[in-house]
Amino acid sequence: MDYYLVTEDSIDITESLTMIDDPRTGAQAIFLGTVRNEYNGRQSLGLYYDAYPAMAHARIKKIGEALKQDFAISHVVIIHRIGELPVGAASVLVAVSAPHREAAFAAAKAGIDRVKQEVPIWKKEHWADGPSEWHDDPSHSGNIK
């Protein structure tokens, strides 16, 4: 089955694998994004993810449906966690199953690329040594592109 979720709960990887499970598929490619302890060399204590939940869910679903059109894959799960996330926590999962591995890898890669570019979700970096800052805020300190 396909499944799309924007949630404040932790991401259940085992359950996601069960959802893409299919006896016709031999290849599962999974991307898991986690919160890092640094950004551009500056220490971070974690991230806060803001979202426009209804649009984020709709966009994630649209991305999943496009992946099924564009690649020879069988099932897709995309989950994005929002809210306060400590270092090490999983923020995003893209899992696809396919008969063959080339399509599985290509779809998982395209899926996470599109999630990062298109889904209305924003992250705020909790710096260890200063005030928290939103990514891509033009008025920030310069540590975030």
């Binding site: 999630v115 570019q117 889904v119 209305p120 979700i121 924003w122 891509d136 008025s139």
Partner: protein, 82 residues
Amino acid sequence: MSNAQITVLFFSFAADRMNAREKIYELSTPVSIQEFFHKNLSASLKEPLESWLFSVNEEWVDPQYHLRPGDALAVVPPVSGG
């Protein structure tokens, strides 16, 4: 909400600059997002119109879209999910 009002949603640093995640505005006359932005939002949001994306009722629209009573307009900064 009266018939002549719209809801405006703010996210990320737009919410910080507006000191609000949601505001109600009166629509006195039909206006485009661009006109509405310059009249009501520009001073607080600071970044120019081109820095933002806009959605109305959860669909992406361009700044020429004419707001209608009851619309939910969202002011969307560059996304940074993942």
